[in-house]
């Protein structure tokens, strides 16, 4: 028997996140989109309300929310603005490797303070020549005494300018290894904010490591565990990315629906035209499908089951649906969908990144196919 209902606690969490979104996120979305200003005050309020660092275990001061609960919060916040949502949720991606592979000392040192005051951390894996192909990372870590010395360039690092520490994937000889690197270490150089197509509230920068000394105690797992940790992280975070994309779809649907019910053309409401109403029906149906994929992927990992295929399915499907929905929303709004005074065009710009970050859609399909190749019969 399958139960599709939310528990009272989950329902409460959704409502709290929705109230926060309506009060803080959506009303400020256009301003942050235009100015590119990092939404620190909104993050502070999210922190105060417990919407940041949701995955940090309770013994380190966090809420220890399940991945599914995190998805519910993320979907709501990203319905208001996925750029602000990314700024709020950026910590989760960098905290996941520490939660998964960190020692109790590492967790106490790097996770616990983040639950006491507003702080940021960043996941620094991508490099200029190594995006989807993570195995190509060139950043080196050379063992010198009891320290490692890191050299390399990380690119498109979310929250990179404001982070207090980074999860860094580097090569120790040929072994990919994960490190926690405090941002105030000598030799850490943060670049300027990248001007991206969308999600302007999100802070994306280049971070350069020049002879950065990292104590051995800050290494995550053993030498050579880095790639596995980085990939395992995605099984936990991709359902959340799918949920963020679903937030965009939900925003697109709500905006288009609100518009189509009030705008009149040819002496009738816009929604009375099948060409418009069918678009709305498709958006709703695809949103439901994308949600179920995200929820299932989250539920699997919460129950200790491998979800690599389901997380990839959820991520690419929800991303594609968000992109389609944003474009359909802009189309329904007509000229108003193309002006930056209305929220539709921002959705189009914001949605695109979901098909790219945390593994491009093509990578997700490769993961699904890789799983299929090990399957005789799909049941």
């Amino acid at each position: 028997m399958i139960d599709f209902s939310f528990s009272p606690a989950q329902q409460g969490l959704r409502e709290q996140a929705k109230a926060f979104t309506e009060e803080w996120v959506a009303p400020n979305a256009a301003r942050h989109d235009r100015t590119g200003e990092f939404p620190k005050e909104i993050c502070r309020e999210a922190f105060r309300r417990g919407f940041m660092n949701t995955s940090v275990p309770k013994e380190y001061g966090g809420r220890g929310l399940a991945v599914l609960d995190h998805c519910l919060v993320t979907e709501e916040i990203c319905t208001g603005c996925s750029g602000i949502g990314t700024a709020i949720d950026g910590n989760g991606l960098s905290q996941a490797p520490v939660i998964l592979a960190g020692t109790p000392e590492q967790k106490a040192r790097f996770l616990a303070p983040m639950t006491e005051e507003l702080m940021f951390s960043a996941y620094a894996v991508t490099e200029p020549e190594a995006g989807s192909d993570v195995a190509r990372v060139k950043t080196t870590a050379v063992k010198v005494g009891s320290d490692y010395v890191l050299n390399g360039v990380k690119w498109w690092i979310t929250n990179g300018s404001v982070a207090s520490w980074y999860f860094v994937l580097a090569r120790v000889e040929d072994r990919q290894t994960g490190f926690i690197v405090p941002a105030d270490s000598a030799g850490v150089v943060r670049g300027p904010k990248e001007i991206n197509l969308g999600q302007h509230a999100s802070n994306t920068v280049r971070v350069t490591f020049e002879d950065v000394k990292v104590p051995e105690a800050f290494r995550l797992g053993a030498e050579g565990d880095g790639f596995k940790i980085a990939m395992e992280t995605f099984n936990h975070t991709r359902p959340g990315i799918a949920a963020g994309a679903n937030g965009i779809t939900k925003a697109a649907l709500n905006i288009a629906l609100s518009y189509a019910k009030r705008r009149r053309t040819f002496d009738k409401k816009l929604i009375s035209n099948q060409g418009i109403s069918f678009k709305l029906a498709e958006m709703m149906t695809k949103l439901d499908a994308a949600r179920f994929l995200a929820y299932k992927a989250a539920w699997l990992i919460d129950n200790g089951t491998d979800n690599a295929r389901e997380a990839s399915e959820a991520k690419w499907f929800a991303s594609d649906v968000a992109m389609e929905a944003a474009i359909a929303c802009a189309q329904i709004l007509g000229g108003y969908g193309y002006t930056n005074e209305m929220p539709a065009e921002k959705l189009v710009r914001d949605a695109k990144i979901y098909q790219i970050y945390e593994g491009a859609s093509e990578i997700q399909k490769m993961i699904v196919v890789a799983k299929l190749m090990r399957t005789k019969v799909v049941e």
Binding site: V25, P27, N254, R263, Y336, T339, E341, P343
Partner: protein, 230 residues
């Protein structure tokens, strides 16, 4: 540089604006910033600049204004007195401030060669004109508001009225201080400050001018928005 300064000013003004306007949305036609409070009981607001009749909903906090009609051939001001009259206080007041500033510098540096007595008289005259004519400007504005905008209680109009009243009160105070002779010596035109009371009067005078300069600048900016949109 200018953009940075405008950003800083925008950030400083934001909390005040939020209190004055509440939640806002933008007219999708002329881009004038309107308040949610401008929406009437039928869920409609009429943009005072372009006449767009806007139906407003905010699903998930996203303002979605839909233009359902356009008010065209709206009543025009009979004499267009307000746009012309408003330039008197908006234009003259900064000149008066400039005169007061020159007198302040002259008083500090004491250059005997400057015609300070003449500047002091001229400053008072310009100041009195700027403040004295402002009730006429306000009356003309109220008349236009009733005729052209149907007397709708827009937040932007309320803000203008509040700032106008503030301008008259503070301006009146500045004129009174100046005319009393407590701030500037009538003989030399320089700041008197012979007693603590006169010093206090001088400080109050310049503080009043500074605040009113911000007030009149805001009035000009808001009035410009109301005519041309954003």
């Amino acid at each position: 540089m200018i953009k940075d300064l405008m950003d800083i000013a925008g950030r400083a003004v934001r909390p005040f604006k939020r209190r004055a306007y509440g939640r806002t949305f933008v007219c999708p036609v002329c881009h004038l910033e309107l308040a949610f409070a401008d929406v009437d009981g039928n869920g409609l607001a009429v943009c005072p600049v372009c006449g767009a009749v806007i139906s407003l909903e905010a699903p998930y906090g996203h303002a979605v204004p839909v233009v359902v009609d356009m008010e065209i051939n709206r009543a025009q001001p009979k004499l267009r007195l307000h746009p012309m009259a408003s330039h008197l206080p908006v234009g003259l007041f900064p000149v008066a401030c400039l005169g007061a500033g020159v007198l302040l510098v002259a008083s500090l540096l004491a250059p005997a060669a400057w015609p300070t007595a003449l500047i002091e008289r001229a400053t008072l005259l310009v100041l009195a004109l700027a403040v004295g004519l402002s009730p006429l400007t306000i009356a003309a504005g109220v008349s236009d508001w009733r005729r052209r905008y149907g007397g709708r209680p827009y937040r932007i109009i309320r803000l203008k009225l509040a700032f106008s009243a503030c301008f008259v009160v503070l301006g009146g105070l500045a004129v009174a201080l100046h005319a009393s002779g407590a701030v500037f010596s009538p003989a030399t035109g320089l700041i008197a400050a012979a007693s603590p009371l006169e010093l206090l009067a001088a400080v109050a005078y310049f503080a009043t001018l500074a605040v009113n300069l911000v007030v009149v600048g805001t009035l000009g900016h808001v009035g410009g928005n109301l005519v041309f949109g954003r």
